[in-house]
Each structure stands twice: as structure tokens, then as C-alpha cells.
């Protein structure tokens, strides 16, 4: 009894340590400037003043739109092409498929430090800097998603696919009309992990985008916080941070299981 009580209090303290900073951020974003640094979360002078200021000072609504466009395009592309290649590797026989799979596994082992600068130079050479294309292109497909899809498709019975072929179903038809509906959990997992990684990425946008109206949300908030524009106004910083965190936290609230199990699976596979 005492044992499980102390266990429980330990877990509660842990939960506080992980949750309190976020609650403090949320509270700070609606508190008057002078009260933000207090430990308590309550204030009698709640207002949306900091949010109004952020919205007028930096193009954060536009940045939100940019991030949505970039992250959603990346996600759709990764799922579409990832499942296509995964299907080909799992269920189609063609010359070179083994080699391709080895190359994909090799891709996953390359530290990104080595390809980062050349990828940036490629964008410059193609004249793509300061475009959505430069933000989307290098993450349009991922070796990881291919491996995950391949793994799942291998477990589908071959008879199912052969039957569809005999019925005259085309290969794209088999993938998109037969296999996709059977693969919803894998698709959701890959989509969520891709969206999250794309939404949170800030290094690549900092490299290829200088135009303020094209910046992604984490990039704009970063520039805002370190560039002195926030004029050390904490309320505005916290409001901007809250807006940046919100979409992923909302998605997390709905798809928590996919986030956690997906990340664990990725870790174990990678």
C-alpha cells in the first residue's frame, strides 16, 4: 500500500515536471507582463493582448499558412510515394529490386550532416531558394516510410493480390483501392510522424528561405525571438510559442496512440 502510494507520488511529480512548463507558457501568454515570472498560473487580469501584438508585429498568420502548405504537401507526398515503392518492393518482382532496397537501407544510415550543404547548393543551382519547392523537395520521399510500408505490405497475403490481378485489376488499382483501405493504421502513423517532423523542422527553412512572407512558423518564431523583435517582451514570445505548439498538440490529443507507438516503432526499426 505504502509502496504503491510512493510510486504514485513519484509519477505525479514527474507529470508536473513535464506539464508545468507548458501550463506556465499558456498562462504567461494571457497574463499581464509583470505577472508572467510568478510561479503561480493564475491571474485576475487575463487578456489576449500578447496574441494581438504578435499578430500585428510579425506575419505569423501567413507563416501558419506556409507551414500548413509545406507540411501537408510533404505528408501527402511521403505517404503516396512511400507506399508505391513499399508495394513494389514487397509484392512486385523486377530486376534490381534487391539493390534498390539495399540502397534505401543505406540512405537511412547516412548522417544528414554530410548531405546538408550539398543539398542547399543544389537548391541554389536550381534557383529554388525562397520558394515552397525548396522547403518541400528534399523531404518529399523518405527511406523510413518506404521501409515501414514494405514491412507492412509483406504481411498481406499474396493470394489476395493475385486474385485482384486475375479479376483484371491494374497494379495502381490494387495499391490504391485494395491495399490502402487495409493499411489505414500504417498510413496514419507515417502521416503523423512525417507531419510532425516537417512542422517542427527549423534548420532547413533557415537555410533556404530568407523572404519573411515565405518563412515557416518555427522559423519565423525563431527569428522573432532571437532577432530582438520581441523587444524582450515575454508575453509576446510565449504567445508566439503557444501558437506554434498548438497544431501539433491538438493532433497529439486526437492521435496520441499513433504518435507514441509510431515513434517507438521508428526507434526500434531505425
Amino acid at each position: 500500500m505504502i509502496r504503491s502510494f510512493s510510486k504514485f507520488s513519484f509519477l505525479i511529480i514527474g507529470a508536473l515536471i513535464f506539464a508545468y512548463p507548458f501550463l506556465w507558457m499558456l498562462a504567461g501568454s494571457v497574463k499581464p507582463e509583470l505577472e508572467i515570472n510568478e510561479l503561480g498560473l493564475w491571474s485576475s487580469n487575463i487578456s489576449l493582448h500578447s496574441y494581438e501584438q504578435v499578430l500585428t508585429k510579425i506575419p505569423i498568420a501567413r507563416a501558419f499558412l506556409n507551414s500548413m502548405i509545406v507540411s501537408l504537401s510533404t505528408t501527402v507526398s511521403v505517404v503516396l510515394f512511400g507506399s508505391m515503392v513499399g508495394y513494389a518492393l514487397a509484392k512486385l518482382r523486377f530486376f534490381g529490386s534487391k539493390l534498390l532496397y539495399v540502397l534505401i537501407l543505406f540512405t537511412m544510415m547516412i548522417p544528414f550532416q554530410i548531405t546538408l550543404i550539398p543539398q542547399y547548393i543544389l537548391m541554389v543551382k536550381l534557383g529554388l531558394t525562397d520558394t515552397y519547392a525548396s522547403l518541400i523537395a528534399p523531404t518529399m520521399m523518405s527511406a523510413f516510410s518506404i521501409v515501414v510500408f514494405r514491412q507492412f505490405f509483406m504481411s498481406l497475403p499474396q493470394a489476395l493480390i493475385d486474385a485482384a490481378r486475375i479479376d483484371g485489376c491494374s497494379e495502381p488499382g490494387i495499391l490504391f483501392r485494395l491495399i490502402w483501405p487495409l493499411s489505414r493504421p500504417v498510413i496514419v502513423t507515417v502521416a503523423i510522424l512525417t507531419f510532425m517532423a516537417s512542422w517542427n523542422d527549423v534548420l532547413w527553412p533557415l537555410m533556404v528561405v530568407r523572404e519573411r512572407t515565405l518563412m515557416t512558423m518555427p522559423q519565423l518564431v525563431t527569428i522573432f525571438v532571437i532577432g530582438g523583435e520581441a523587444e524582450s517582451q515575454l508575453g509576446m514570445q510565449l504567445a508566439a510559442a503557444t501558437l506554434l505548439a498548438l497544431p501539433v498538440v491538438i493532433a497529439y490529443a486526437f492521435f496520441q496512440r499513433y504518435f507514441i507507438e509510431g515513434m517507438a516503432y521508428t526507434g526500434i526499426k531505425g
Binding site: 515570472n37 540512405t107 550532416q113 497529439y252
Partner: protein, 296 residues
């Protein structure tokens, strides 16, 4: 018989569509994986600022790197980070995982809360901790002060800054590792503990003799993932300290970024990227050897 042969033929023909399915990826691979890899090999032998023509300088980038105190500083900082981050992360993650690996109320709730910082942008986490770590007004120093300790110069003292970032990174990532340890713990067969109980082994002995050795593969994975993460440290020092004070938080990635985008030294930045990538592969391999060789 001939009908069956027709079916087989149809199937074989269908399978040739594989090329169409993989073609987009092959193009992507050539452009964004193969070309950058090859180009990085060219770049490391050149001096180039992207604007003027490339200039062949042989091994000068490497000569410069091995006499560049900032490179050694960045490498050293990375190891300072790893020496604090990895043990801290393993201890914290394993403790929570062991506690959660039992029939306890609100288990799913706790797991969800611990995982929250993992899904949130590093920028958000860094803004939060910048304020928690603030010397005069920060929450951490207020708490320390109110219980009678002196304030800690978290981000302003060169000796404290990197450890502070390592603590912050642990807070952000430990959720993943809790989940990985949980998976590892659940994969240990219950029978082993039962027979150990019969043999009269106490809980501590069971933990050291059974749980830890059985978690060895998880350990290898966690150490590798945190190492790769440590070498990729960028946004935290970029926002929090700009690499200071006195270069104490200059990470490898931040140094590469500065060389490329502040000084326009593309060749040197590529060389740094190349050497850091090799270092990652080497360290991860080495760690693996050491952990797997651990007597169990």
C-alpha cells in the same frame, strides 16, 4: 492448364509495373541522396563561396580543420553534452519505465504527459527553458532561492551552459526513451522472474541480473539515438545562447551552419559536415561494441 498458364502470365506481366512504382523514388534518390553525396566529395577539396568559381585546394580544408581550435571546441562540446545527456536520460527513462511497467492507475495518462515535450517543436521548448533558466527571474532560480540555495548561472557561466542544454534536451526527449524501455521491459518473459523468485533472488538482484542484461538491445538503441541527437544539436544553442558564453555551447551543427551562412565557406562547411558524419558513425559503432561486450 492453359488457363492457369494465362493467369500466371498476367501476374508476371503485372509485376513488371514495379519500375513505374519506383521511378519517382529513383529520381529523388539521384537528386537528393546520390548527387549530394558525390558533390560533398568534390566540395571538400575546394574553396567556394557559391558566387565566384570553385577553387581546387587539395587537402587544405582538412589541414585547416585539424589546426582549427573552434572545430576541436565544437567536438569537445558535443562530448560534454553526451557525457551528461546519455547517462541522465537512461537513468530517468528507466526509472519512469519501471514505475509505469506495473498495474498502476492513470498509466496511459502519465505516459501521454511524459511524451508531450517530444511532439512539440524544439523552438517552443527552447523558448520555455530560456525563461526557466533566466538568472534573475527564472522559475528554477526562484525555487532554488526560496529553499535557501544560491542562484545557479545556468546559461551565463561557460561551465554550466552546456550541461544546462543537456538537461533541457533530456527533458524534451526522455518520453521516447521511456516508451522504448517499456517495450523492452514487456518483452522480458515473466517466467524468468518467476524462477528467480523460486530461487530466492531479491528484487535488487533480479533487476541487476535479469532486467538490465535483458534490456541490453534497448540500451544499444537508446545510446545510439541520443548520440546522433547530440551530434545534431542545433536549434537549442542557436536560440538559447548563440553558441556562447565563450563558445561553450558551440555545437558541431551550429559551427557548420555559421561557416556556411555567415562566412560563406561552403567547402570548409562541407568538410566539417563530412568529419562530423564520420565521427557519428565511429562513435555509434564503438558504443555498440562496448555495450555488447559488457559481461552479463
Amino acid at each position: 492448364m492453359s488457363q492457369k498458364a494465362n493467369f500466371l502470365k498476367a501476374i508476371r506481366q503485372s509485376e513488371r509495373h514495379g519500375y513505374w512504382f519506383v521511378l519517382p523514388y529513383v529520381i529523388f534518390f539521384l537528386l537528393f541522396v546520390a548527387y549530394p553525396l558525390v558533390f560533398s566529395f568534390i566540395l571538400i577539396f575546394h574553396r567556394w563561396n557559391i558566387v565566384t568559381p570553385m577553387e581546387w585546394i587539395g587537402l587544405k580544408n582538412f589541414q585547416r580543420l585539424f589546426s582549427d581550435p573552434q572545430f576541436f571546441k565544437a567536438m569537445g562540446n558535443t562530448f560534454v553534452f553526451l557525457f551528461i545527456h546519455i547517462p541522465l536520460q537512461i537513468v530517468v527513462a528507466l526509472s519512469f519505465a519501471v514505475l509505469l511497467n506495473s498495474k498502476i492507475k492513470l498509466r496511459g495518462f502519465f505516459r501521454a504527459v511524459y511524451f508531450l515535450p517530444v511532439v512539440v517543436s524544439g523552438v517552443v521548448v527552447t523558448i520555455l527553458w530560456q525563461n526557466l533558466y533566466s538568472y534573475d527571474y527564472g522559475v528554477l532560480n526562484s525555487i532554488l532561492h526560496s529553499v535557501g540555495f544560491s542562484k545557479v548561472p545556468w546559461l551565463i557561466d561557460p561551465g554550466f551552459a552546456m550541461p544546462s542544454i543537456a538537461i533541457m534536451a533530456t527533458w524534451k526527449n526522455v518520453g521516447i526513451y521511456i516508451v522504448l524501455f517499456l517495450v523492452g521491459l514487456q518483452n522480458i518473459p515473466k517466467e524468468i522472474y518467476e524462477s528467480a523468485n523460486l530461487d530466492g533472488a531479491n528484487r535488487y538482484n533480479q533487476f541487476v541480473k535479469i532486467t538490465l542484461p535483458m534490456l541490453n538491445p534497448t540500451m544499444v538503441l537508446i545510446v545510439a539515438l541520443s548520440t546522433i541527437g547530440g551530434f545534431s544539436l542545433f536549434i537549442e544553442p542557436y536560440v538559447l545562447t548563440g553558441g556562447g558564453p565563450m563558445q561553450s555551447t558551440m555545437s558541431g551543427m551550429l559551427y557548420i551552419y555559421n561557416q556556411a551562412f555567415y562566412f560563406g565557406h561552403m567547402g570548409y562547411a562541407a568538410t566539417l559536415g563530412f568529419v562530423f558524419a564520420l565521427a557519428i558513425l565511429l562513435v555509434v559503432l564503438l558504443q555498440r561494441k562496448v555495450i555488447e561486450a559488457e559481461p552479463t
